[in-house]
Structure formats: C-alpha cells, structure tokens
Amino acid sequence: MPIGDRAGADSEPATASPRLAPSPSIPWPAYRTLELCSSRGGFEAVPLREVRWDLAQVRRRLERARIPVVDARVLLIATLPPAVTIARSGRLLFKTPVAVEATAAFDRLRAVLSGASS
C-alpha cells in the first residue's frame, strides 16, 4: 500500500507502482526567482499568481517518476533530492541552502510535473 494512503505514516517514502494509472501533466505557473528563505536553510519559489494544484495528481506524477513522496494531504514532501515541500498553492521550498542545487531541483520538478524539459 502506498504510504500516503495511511494516516500517520510519515517518513517511509512511497515508491512508484508499475500499475499506476496514467496521470495528466500539471499546469506549471510562472514563478518568482528562487529566494533564500528567511531562516536561510532552503530556497523558496512562489508562483506569480497563486494556483490550486490537485496534490493527489501531483503525487501520482512524482510516483510515476519514481520520486519518493510523503503525502500530508495539504502538502507533499518529495525527495528529488534535495527534499522539496510542495504546497497546494504552488509554493515550493527546496531544503538546500545551495542555490545551484535548488535551481536544478526546480528544473527537474518542472519537467516531471509539466512534462516539459527545461
């Protein structure tokens, strides 16, 4: 059973199942520049206009790409690496203080979710 189906299950990541149904791509909004968050531990990306992502669909896209996901229903934590918190609003937090790593992870996430290569 994928871990996100169980309330209370946390750090054991879900992995992709070969029987997962096809998942449509996620509309990718325009983002502000990646910025170091206030506590300087990660880089934050905020959409120019707030979106309303279907996180179940986002999770399916990630799982199809064999990216481990923790599903807290109101947000997802995907381990690319680095780990990235994905909010329904489209806000992203990459848990690395290294700009190059955060940018690479942002590009990979965009490619996985939207189906577009960077």
């Binding site: 299950a9 506590s39 300087r40 531990g41 923790v70 947000l75 203080p97």
Partner: protein, 208 residues
C-alpha cells in the same frame, strides 16, 4: 532541587530557559521533538550543540531524548482543522514530554516559551496546549522580551548555534489560530487515537 524535562527546539529560547534552570541547580533531561520531514536536520544538530555547551558549563549530563514527531504532524494535517494545528502539535509534544518525565522520575516540565512571541504562545493557546498534561510546567522566560532573551543567549554562547541556517517547520499553517478554545481542541482530538499516537512516538524515541 528537582528533576525536570525540558523541551528543546534548537531555537534561541529553549537553551536560555534551560540555562536558568541549570543555574538554579535543577537536574534536567532534554527532549527534542523531531519534526523531520517537515524540517531539515538543523534543529537536532543545534540541540546537540546547545547541550554540549550547557553540559560543559554546568557539569551535568543532561540526557537527550529524540522523539519522532513527523508522523504525528502528518496525522494532524490529514485529520484535523489546520487552523489549530500548532496547538494540537504542542499538545502531543507535552504528552510525550510528560511520559518521559514519568518514566525518568521527573516532577516538572519546562519550556522556553515567552508570552506572545509567536502564534502558539498566546495565553489562550498555552492554556489549550498544556491542558493535555498534569505535571506543572515551568517557563523561566515567560515575561522576557525577545531582546532580553537574545542578550542572555549571546552571553552564554548559544545564540550563534540557534541562528545557524535551517529550514523552518513546514507544518505551520498559513494562518494559525491565536485564540484557540479548549472545547474545539478536544473536539478535534476525538478524530484521533491520541494514546496510540503517543505510544507509537515513544516506542520509536531514542536516547542520544
């Protein structure tokens, strides 16, 4: 002097509160609620470094218990009103700390809370959070303002550790309640198997 359990977050306040209690001669045990994957490794690393510093200063062993809390956060996010998530989170922290206190023969709990600093530290929210436990709670910093706490943190050497880069807790809701009501909190918890959650966390807790 008494034996107490101190909740340590890795922030500026809790090592200062611990410093005051150690200075008074209390025998202290530290508990860190591990919020990963909603944070990174930095809070735990900071707590380890805070304790190394205070152990050396006061010559006390200060055992540290690491209690997994990420699974509890996920359960809360999936099953309860996000608005009161911080209060519910705190209630589980207090419950875990109290269980450890009972097991270790401690007679009080302690925290670095100061009134009104953040959403979880309003009087209403403190009341809602601490109603989950029976042991007395000591708050050495309750009347201090941030600047006063930072001054002490600098003087004892913990400020530089606390302010190292790290990822803030990602489980904090966008608009946390500042005036929670105990009835509502109790109602939210009816959706949870509270004892099972606490049992599970403590079963996975480790002493570092």
């Amino acid at each position: 002097m008494a034996r107490g359990v101190m909740l340590m977050s890795g922030g500026i306040d809790s090592p200062v509160a611990l410093h005051y209690l150690l200075r008074q001669g209390h025998e202290m045990i530290a508990v860190h609620m591990d919020n990963r994957p909603f944070t990174d490794d930095s809070p735990l690393e900071k707590v380890i470094d805070h304790l190394a510093l205070l152990r050396a200063r006061y010559g006390q062993p200060i055992p540290l218990f690491l209690v997994p809390h990420g699974s509890t956060q996920i359960t809360l996010m999936r099953s309860t009103d996000r608005h009161v998530g911080c209060v519910l989170c705190r209630r589980f922290m207090w419950r875990a700390a109290e269980r450890i206190a009972e097991r270790e023969g401690a007679t009080f709990l302690a925290t670095g809370e100061a009134l009104g600093q953040v959403a979880s530290q309003t009087l209403a929210n403190m009341r809602s959070a601490t109603a989950a436990v029976r042991l007395p709670i000591v708050r050495p910093l309750i009347g201090l303002d941030k600047r006063e706490i930072e001054t002490v943190a600098r003087s004892i050497g913990t400020y530089g550790i606390s302010t190292r880069p790290g990822v803030c807790c990602q489980a904090v809701p966008d608009r946390p309640a500042t005036r929670s009501h105990l009835v509502q909190i109790a109602n939210e918890e009816t959706r949870l198997d509270v004892n099972a959650i606490v049992d599970d966390c403590l079963r996975r807790a480790v002493q570092l």
